[in-house]
């Protein structure tokens, strides 16, 4: 039998016996069990759930959890060059302060009135992104860059009524699987191979496959090889000429260094905000953005909520509200666009704080530092005997791929780890024809000495 507790659990105030008894009396039942009258006995779970016993005090809980977490070795304690969709950028302290504010952390579905601050903070996030991406419409964050790309493609499919999309193969394999599954039944995904020499999508490849069945061309810049796509205008021209859209996956943080693809004619931009002050969290900190021009053809195809700025009954006061809420599944169930649910709002607010802190010059300096570190790393490693950088002479930003002679990806990874370095993500699933190629990422937190350490370690492994 369960023992009757003299005291309430700290998380369950009304489990205090006196209170509970009085409440039962108010309700007019003798026992909580009466309140479960609607659940037939056959469905009742008998016995106790098979769970480890409760940690009886906060002291014990903290000891247990800290003991587990202490078994991790962090990227901060070592030297890490891991990337491939999650990046070790610096998180300014203010981002953490705002992200952990009790008000933001525990708010939810409140309206423009009681949650005015949340609406404004998210509107500011979308507005900062709009300025960065150079497009007028940005969604309240959806789950992540995978979802953003998949939805962007479906938007194009709906807008064009066409059932084929071209997707660059310099896209992470899991992301391509997500896209394919998400488009299943709606459109066929045709792979658009990047040029193996230059690491980028060349216009002729697009031209070759483009046609009036193609809803959109999807490519990323920098792409999964770290290469910056340089012929976007030409590709946009080809796509537009055939009535299709150009959709670009883009790293927003790179826009301190690179032009926004919007300026080259991209119609939809999408991507992930993980790099904007969210931290890594073992891959648990992502948010997706989709940006378009302010035209109703685009706007009505967004499944996410869009926040707008609007006047209030007070003269001169501006408040916030939903834009075209009828698009959403919350309003229309299956008649809405795809679906919308809880996704990544607080990460959006945090990214807004990040962009506010860095400002134009911070972003520009950071972009340059990353570009410089990437180039420095490429130059240091390309000269090692047995190492070949894929498309070494193409412009890169943050990542680059290296093929090693006589060493498997796993051997390189383990060799580095033995030297206190994390790195070497295999690209086997992405580009099987490139063999044992691995990816490295550098960011602004790396110094040239850090990169020297990597190069020296690789030299040792190859020796």
């Amino acid at each position: 039998m369960r023992e009757v507790a003299r005291f309430a659990h700290p998380y369950i105030p009304n489990s205090a016996p006196v209170v509970k008894a009085e409440m039962l009396a108010t309700v007019g039942v003798a026992d909580v069990d009466e309140l479960y009258a609607s659940i037939p006995n056959a469905l009742r779970f008998e016995g106790e759930l098979d769970l480890p016993s409760a940690l009886e005090s906060e002291v014990a809980l903290r000891r247990h959890m800290n003991g587990l977490l202490a078994r991790n070795v962090t990227a901060g304690q070592t030297l890490s060059f891991l990337g491939a969709g999650c990046y070790q950028h610096y998180v300014p302290s203010i981002c953490g302060e705002i992200n952990s504010r009790a008000e933001f952390l525990t708010a939810y579905a409140g309206e423009p009135y009681e949650d005015h601050g949340k609406w404004q903070a998210i509107f500011e996030y979308t507005s900062l992104m709009a300025d960065l991406l150079e497009m007028d419409v940005v969604n309240v964050p959806n789950y992540d860059g995978y979802q953003a790309a998949a939805t962007a493609l479906r938007m194009a499919v709906r807008m064009t009524g066409r059932a084929t999309v071209l997707v660059s193969d310099a896209v992470l394999a899991d992301k391509r699987r997500k896209i394919e599954s998400y488009l299943e039944g709606a459109a066929t995904v045709v792979v658009l191979p990047v040029d193996r020499e230059t690491g980028r999508v060349v216009p002729s490849a697009v031209e070759e496959r483009m046609g009036d069945d193609v809803a959109a061309v999807y490519l990323e810049t920098p792409n999964a090889l770290g290469v910056v796509e340089t012929e976007l205008s030409a590709i946009a021209g080809i796509a537009h000429g055939a009535g299709g859209l150009l959709i670009c996956g883009v790293e927003p943080l790179a826009l301190g260094f690179l032009e926004s693809p919007a300026s080259s004619g991209a119609d939809i931009l999408c991507g992930d905000i993980q790099a904007l002050g969210l931290g890594m969290h073992f891959g648990g900190a992502h948010g997706g953005f989709i940006a378009t021009h302010d035209e109703e053809t685009f706007v009505y195809e967004f499944p996410s909520r869009l926040f707008g700025i609007a006047p209030t009954v007070e003269d001169g006061e501006l408040g916030f509200t939903d834009v075209a809420y009828e698009r959403t599944s919350l309003a229309m169930r299956e008649e809405g666009i795809e679906w919308v649910g809880t996704a990544a709002a607080l990460w959006g607010i945090t990214a807004g704080v990040y962009l506010s802190l860095l400002g134009p010059h911070g972003l520009s300096e950071l972009g340059e530092t990353v570009a410089a570190n990437t180039r420095y790393a490429i130059e240091r490693i390309r000269v090692l005997p047995g190492a070949e950088i894929i498309a070494a002479d193409a412009p890169h930003w943050r990542e680059f791929a290296v093929r090693f002679e006589g060493r498997t990806a796993a051997e390189v990874e383990s060799g580095l780890r033995g030297r206190g370095i994390f790195g070497a993500v295999p690209l086997r699933r992405e580009l099987p024809d490139l063999g044992e190629t691995v990816l490295f990422a550098v960011t602004e937190i790396h110094s040239s000495a850090d990169i020297d350490r990597l190069a020296d370690a690789l030299e040792g492994i190859l020796a």
Binding site: P52, I94, Y108, A121, V299, T321, A345, S356, L357
Partner: protein, 527 residues
Amino acid sequence: WNEPLIFALGSEGERGVRVPLADPAALEALSRGAEAAVRRARPTALPEVGQAQVLRHFLRLSQETLGADLNVDIGQGTCTMKYSPKVNEEFAGAAQSVETHPLQHPSTVQGTLEILHELERAIASVSGMDAVSLQAGAGSAAIWGNVQIVRAYHADRGEGEQRDEVVTTIFSHPSNAATAKTAGYRVVTLYPGDDGLIELDALRAALSERTAALLITNPEDTGIFNPAIAEIVAAAHEVGALCVYDQANANGILGITRAREAGFDLCHFNLHKTFSTPHACGGPAAGAIGATAELEPFLPGPRLVRGEDGFRLEDRGPRTTAPIRPFWGVVPNLIRAYAWIRALGAEGLREVAEIAVLNNNYVMSRLSEVEGVRPAYLEGAHPPIEQVRYSWDGLARDTGVTSGELGQRLADFGMHLWTSHHPYVVPDPATIEPTEAYARRELDEYVDALRQASAEAREDPEFVRRAPYKSSIHHVDAQSMTDPETWATSWRAYRRKYLGEDVRIPAHWSPSVDSPTRERQEKLFHR
């Protein structure tokens, strides 16, 4: 505060934070690299604001936000606002978690992997299911994951073409219908009988060899537990359909009844509801999918395996469905959920359920004293589980004040009353869900606020309609945001449309004559 937009702050040359500049050696390499050619000409158009000023701005905005930590948060629809223990923030925010990369070698992240493994086991136990995937980023994403599994399962059996319908109920979350539609299914929606419950006959009529799955919630958003759930599941199974249990809000039945007992094939939990992770203004959240052994091979995301060298992540094999998101799930929330479960144990979870149900019935008792509001479908029925969909139609009839307008007035009390339950099957709806987390005094406070606001509506309907008064902002004119000509989806758009800023818009795609004409929904507002 009457806090301006961030764009109104700052001055040329202010800095919020300084970033590392490139080392000379790297700069020199850059100067010789191909990157120079692609470098942008001008800096981006962001504001320039000092650090304390950025901080002050966002702190003020935070104070204008009514988090569950600050208010008696039991009126946010079916949102299961419960206490997110602060100590769990320490674990989720620990450097040992935040600073790990998802592709680190498993030997370097044994702590996190053990937490994930133990959480999978706990969710399996709570649901009775055989296997669990923690990859989904939220509840709706988990529903999508389940729909993907349904699709893959039938395709695997060669019935993919044949089974092109999904059956769901109107009192299940909209994402059940919407994800099924997105996956290509025709959606059949069942409406309840007079008792608020699905009738078995109506269900049988809807089911056929075309049915891929039944997606259902129980207790539904009305708070009513359907005692015939096992029969419902059996009926679906009879036609070869899978049964998927939306357990977003399982708060009232933890340790009482499980997906297993009712015969479900798949289920999902919202960890930010039942398992206490904070709602974060609308995410990040986390979802967990539970599956029977038969469906386990179709689960998305990696399998967590305990080997001799400890835990590792393994591919689930050829039948696994596509990843729902990058990597392994929303790890900070998975850590929080695990810690919450460990702080309670089996007995504690059951206590959560019982007190949530008690609180819900207590509020219903107290609200029965207030005129103009009634619990829908509950007259004479069994007691509700852990929420009740009320109808303020009495008040609306008497005063013309809708439940949405009542909700605006509640903002003046520092409380939420959310009414977005489209379509309004229950007229003038409002769902109250007290969970286990609030003290009786707080429940009374909430009921008293509703009582006062509804009394005000009787005295002076216009007064309530023009609310709020003491909130951070006044009544917003939402009309302008429904029209493409006037809406402003960003400050950039506002500057262009309202302040006359000249923005160069590059050439881009535009619809051609053969582009499809898309049907638009009738305009609709959030409240």
